[in-house]
Symmetry: C2
Subunit: 310 residues, 2 copies
């Protein structure tokens, strides 16, 4: 609890596949209090969402008389088919006003009203692309003055998002994180990996292979096996090499057709974000960092645009 | 047993990771008899290789007085670190004479001598590439007059091999088969796959995406999720779409820098080889088929070059 905080105006919930974060947000968008839980949507059975939310945000009701009237916004995979209420996807371009118009209100059994933020979709030649939750983070970034350029959001499925004037104009998903885990855990490539060393040289060597214009992943991944097999890299470096190869391949693909890419904004403060920062430096790209709790700023701006802050 | 067969001259063994095939080979290279077993090197514990081999080829001793003196050649992963006798890799270019010179004789406990065929290695900018077993198949193909051009050998790790005048001059491994299995079994992409339909349209749609010059796999794989999610392809077609996408990506990468590719030879008669034949047709490539038991021809030609046929 921040003692200098203004009166609470909003509760924002970022509810993903594997975790949940809730924010008590003040009248100027500042975070007054926060709570998190590993109860992502895959961990909550049946109709248990309401009970989880009540338990997590209940303590805030003792701290504000307005609690029962505080608007609640929820974003993330909680609006997917396996979530609480499935909402449609909003199309590009998409900003705070578009997301405000697309809010889906839902009255829980207890009478609590939750406003669900829809996900976003776009269409490329090869097929559709979708996000749920990241759109709210991007809107939040505009509160920090980050309203233009390329954003990368590292994760199981990392997102590269093009933003112009605070609007999301396009994005692409890369399955890099999930593919790394599947390759490490369930192919022959994991068998030569030892230890947990962080070796920057091995990471950079993998990055260079991934950034090479002749790179092709289905073949290059075999080097994750042959390099230690032939004694070219030690086994403790193999995981870092593969991480570099995959992230390098992603960075090359995501930046290939953008002429004036400018400074790339990395969203998040995780170990994975650190890797992407190193990767972008190796690739010769300028980058800056945005905290991942900008999602609360996104909840605030969308609620404000929807006239929910009364 | 082929009643028209000549006297047995050689036993050839193709001993891989997950299976084992042995051939009784006549004096002109023809297969007189064959036996197979699921006892690949990963299924045989400790020093059990000799017992497995004796059991499988033992019956042939009753059919030929020369059995105890028949030379035995063994190729495949049996010469890897996890196999019976680890042998070095032979370098490019590599033909029957080079493999004959590199044979590694080994006397088993019973006194039986086995001549192990070494694997082959090559070096590219990104790292080394290796094969064990495929080199013997390629040498065997030359007995069918297939002595030039590109060979593709579909499998868990498919190999693309450049052959000139019956010599292997270069090759590349693509981990397509193993990556397909890991993605299907251990990522979110498998969760929307239903049934076992073979849908040629879905396969071709995936192929087209993989062959596209803008293709990049880490992103394109996400379409395996979004296409059924948005109702663009039925769930029973999802596995075929992903198979097409991966094989298309492989074909595009493997053929990208070859100017005069000619007719591609597909080695093998498996379901997977059928997929590669369809894929090459979609890609506008001419192809032909070679049986995968050409490995026995390879054993014969290498033994002949080594002067083992008496």
């Amino acid at each position: 609890m921040n003692s200098a905080a203004s009166e609470a105006a909003l509760i924002g919930v970022d509810w993903g596949t594997s975790s949940l974060r809730a924010f008590l947000i003040g009248g100027t968008g500042e975070v007054i209090d926060r709570v998190s839980s590993p109860e992502g949507i895959m961990q909550v059975a049946g109709q248990g969402f309401e009970a989880v939310l009540d338990r997590l945000i209940g303590p805030w009701s003792a701290q504000t008389e307005r609690r029962t009237r505080l608007p609640i916004l929820a974003s993330g995979m909680i609006t997917s088919r396996n979530g609480w209420v499935e909402t449609p996807y909003a199309a590009m371009p998409l900003g705070a006003c578009g997301l405000a118009r697309a809010l889906v209100p839902h009255d829980a059994a207890s009478g609590t009203r939750i406003h669900f933020v829809t996900g976003a979709s776009t269409e490329h030649a090869g097929g559709p692309d979708v996000m749920r939750g990241e759109e709210t983070q991007i809107i939040g970034a505009s509160a920090l003055g980050l309203i233009d350029g390329i954003f990368v959001m590292p994760g199981t499925h990392s997102k590269w998002v093009h933003v112009a004037d605070g609007q999301i104009v396009d994005f692409s998903t890369y399955m890099t994180g999930e593919i790394f885990a599947a390759l490490k855990g369930h192919t022959i490539l994991g068998t030569l990996m030892e230890g947990e060393d962080v070796n920057d040289d091995a990471f950079k060597m993998g990055m260079a292979a991934g950034l090479d214009s002749r790179a092709n992943l289905l073949h290059d991944l075999f080097h994750v096996r042959t390099l230690p097999l032939m004694g070219k890299i030690p086994k403790v470096d193999v995981a870092d090499y593969m991480s570099g190869l995959l992230i390098g391949t992603e960075v090359a693909a995501a930046t290939r057709e953008i002429e004036d890419i400018g400074t790339i904004t990395i969203v998040g403060r995780s170990d994975l974000s650190d890797r992407y920062e190193r990767a972008l430096h190796v690739a010769g790209r300028e980058c800056r960092r945005a905290p991942d709790d900008i999602v609360a700023k996104g909840h605030f701006l969308i609620a404000s645009a929807a006239g929910l802050l009364g």
